[in-house]
Symmetry: C2
Subunit: 337 residues, 2 copies
DNA sequence: TTGTATGCGTTATCAC
DNA sequence: GTGATAACGCATACAA
C-alpha cells in the first residue's frame, strides 16, 4: 500500500513541472496553460487516480471547501430537514458539512466555532443565534443565520415569514368566530418567539380584538414542559379563552395535555394552533392546525447564501424570508358560544 | 485584522523556539520539556488565543481529528439521536463530525467517501451498509458500522439487539392470546430487516406457532408507503391474522392506515407492534407498542469504537450489541376470539 | 532539555 | 506558456 499520488507524480508522468500540473488541474488557472499540455496533465491525473491533498491546499490557500453548521440540537425535529437542505446545497458546490450541537449553550458554541475555524472552515451557518447576538468584531469568516436571526441586519439570514404565518392563524381563528384568543409565546430573546409575538399583537388589534381579549404568556423555551407550564399560567389568569395560538408545534402539543388536565376538550372547548408543521403532527389526536415552514428550502437557501458570501464577502447582507402556508386540520373549530 | 497567531508567535512570546513550543503544547510530548517552560508556553498560547492550524498539522502528520458520518437520510427520525450521540462522543475526544446523506444510493456514498477521504478524514461511521457490502480491499481508513451491519464480521459495528426485541414482542403477543401473527418485514438486504425476520421465525416456532400461522410479507423499504402495500398483501392472503409485528415504527403506522382501510380496528380487531420507539409514536392513536432502541447510546458507542479503531487499527473488529426494551402501549390487546 | 533543519503537498510569485 | 522557487504552519529526526 503505497502513498497516494501527489501532483509531482502527475507532473512527472505528463512530463511537465509540478507548477504547470497545478495550473492545468485548477479550473481557474487552466487558461494559463497550453491546451495540449493541459490535456496531457488531466490524462495523467486520471490514470494515476490523483486526488489533491486538501490539507496542503488549505495550508497554502487559507481556505477549504468545508462549511460548519451549528444547531442547538439535531434531535429537535425542525433541524433535520434544514440540515439536510444545507448539506444538499453545499454538496452541489463541492462543499462538505461539519455539524455541531450546542444545546443552546453559548460556551459550547464558542468552542465549536473555534474548533471549526482551526480546521480552515470556509464559512458558518448558525441556527443558534439570539436576537441580541452580534458578530461585529467577530467572525471574519463568512456566516449565514438560518431559522433565527439577530436584530441587527449585519449578517445574512434565511428565515420563514413568521408574521405572515401568525396573521394567517389569527384570521383563521377569527373567521371561526373566536373573540378571546390567547398566545403561548416562545422566548423573547429568539427572533422566532419575538416575531410571532409581535405579529400576534399586530394581527389581533388589526382584526379588532381588545388587548384584554388577546392575552400573552411567555414560555421559557420552545419545549413541551415549558409550554405546559405557560399554558396553565395563561388559563389560570384567563379562563374564558376559546382559542390558543402556540409559539410552535411542541408548545401546541403541550397545550393539548395542559387543557386535558384542565378538563377542556380540543377543539370542542378550546381551539389550538401550532407553528412549523413538524413530522407526525398530522397524526396527533386531534390533528394539529398549524403553519407549514419550508424547512428543507430554508436550508438550501442558506447554503446558497453562504456560497454567495464566500464568493463575495463584502457584498451587503441579504435577508431572505420564505413564505409559509396555513394547514387546517382538526385542532381548530367554531368558537363555543 | 491580522492573521491568526501561529506557533511561532507563541514561541516568541514565551521566549523559546517554535519546536519547543510545539512539544510543550502537544500532550504526548509535553514530558520532553521543562515544566516551567511548558507553563510559560501554555500561558503565551492562552494569552494569544492560539489555535493550531489543523491543515498544517494534517499535512505533517497525515491524519486529522475529523470523522465522517454517513447516513441514508437525516430526516428519518432514527438518525438524529444516533448522529447526536456520535457527535457528543467524538467531540469529547476533540474530533469534529462531517455529515453526509446518501438516500441509499451507493454511488452517492462512494462520492462522499472519496470527498471526505480527500479531506484527511481520520475515520468513518457508516449507517448505510447493506448485508452484502464488503470493505475488504476498501478503506485503509478506520471504519465503524452503526445501526446496520454487514454479514461478514470484518468491520466493527454497533447495533441493537434485534433478535431479543422481536422475541420480546412475540412473547407479548402470545401472552395476549394471539395465535395467528403476521410479520411485515423490512428489506432482506439490510441487517435490521433480516435479523428481525429471522428472529420472528425463530420466536414463533419456539413458542409453538405453525409456520402457516406466522406468515411474512416483505416491504421494499422501511417506509410508510412500502409498509402500507405490504400490509395489504399480507391481509389479502391471510385475512384471519389477529396481530401484526411490523419491521419498524414507520411500517407499524402504515399498518394503522392499511387496517383502517380494511375496516379493522387497532387493537380491537388486530394488534400492531413497531420497532424503534421513534419520537411521537407514544402520541399516535392508538399509542404504539414497540421496542425501544438506545439510539443515542448506539451513537456514542460507535464513536468510542471508532476512536479505539483509530488508536489501534489492527485490533480485531468488535461487534457491540446493545440491549433493547419492550414498551407496552395501546396498540396491542387481547386476541379476538 | 532545547535548538536546528527539513519536509509534508500545494499554489503564488517571479523569472524566463 | 512554462519552470524554478518559496512559503503556508506544524512536527519530528537529529544535533547540541
Amino acid at each position: 500500500m503505497d502513498r497516494a499520488p501527489t501532483i509531482k507524480d502527475v507532473a512527472e508522468r505528463a512530463g511537465v513541472h509540478a507548477a504547470t500540473a497545478s495550473r492545468a488541474l485548477n479550473p481557474a488557472t487552466r487558461g494559463m496553460v497550453n491546451v495540449r499540455t493541459a490535456n496531457r496533465v488531466a490524462e495523467a491525473a486520471r490514470a494515476l487516480g490523483y486526488a489533491p491533498n486538501s490539507a496542503a491546499r488549505s495550508l497554502r490557500t487559507r481556505t477549504s471547501s468545508v462549511a460548519g453548521i451549528i444547531v442547538p440540537d439535531l434531535r429537535n425535529p425542525v433541524f433535520p430537514p434544514i440540515v439536510r437542505g444545507i448539506e444538499d446545497g453545499l454538496r452541489e458546490a463541492g462543499y462538505l458539512a461539519l455539524v455541531g450541537n450546542t444545546d443552546g449553550d453559548p460556551e459550547r458554541e464558542r468552542e465549536l466555532l473555534t474548533a471549526m475555524r482551526g480546521r480552515q472552515t470556509a464559512g458558518f451557518i448558525l441556527a443558534t443565534s439570539r436576537r441580541g447576538d452580534s458578530f461585529a468584531g467577530g467572525p471574519a469568516v463568512p456566516t449565514v443565520l438560518v431559522n433565527r436571526r439577530t436584530d441587527d441586519g449585519d449578517t445574512p439570514s434565511v428565515t420563514a415569514d413568521n408574521a405572515a404565518g401568525v396573521h394567517l392563524l389569527v384570521r383563521h381563528l377569527v373567521d371561526l368566530g373566536h373573540t378571546r384568543i390567547g398566545h403561548v409565546a416562545g422566548p423573547r430573546d429568539l427572533s422566532t418567539g419575538w416575531e410571532r409575538y409581535r405579529a400576534f399583537l399586530d394581527a389581533t388589534t388589526s382584526l379588532g380584538l381588545e388587548p384584554a381579549a388577546a392575552p400573552v404568556e411567555f414560555a421559557d423555551a420552545f419545549t413541551e414542559p415549558a409550554g405546559h407550564a405557560a399554558t396553565l399560567r395563561l388559563f389560570a389568569e384567563h379562563p374564558g379563552l376559546t382559542a390558543v395560538l402556540a409559539g410552535n408545534d411542541l408548545i401546541a402539543l403541550a397545550c393539548y395535555s395542559a387543557l386535558a388536565e384542565l378538563g377542556r376538550s380540543v377543539p370542542g372547548d378550546v381551539s389550538v394552533t401550532g407553528f412549523n408543521d413538524m413530522p407526525f403532527v398530522d397524526r396527533q389526536r386531534p390533528a394539529l392546525t398549524t403553519v407549514r415552514l419550508p424547512h428543507y428550502e430554508i436550508g438550501r437557501e442558506a447554503a446558497r447564501l453562504l456560497l454567495e458570501r464566500i464568493a463575495s464577502p463584502t457584498a451587503p447582507a441579504k435577508r431572505v424570508v420564505l413564505p409559509v402556508e396555513l394547514v387546517r386540520r382538526d385542532s381548530t373549530g367554531p368558537a363555543k358560544v
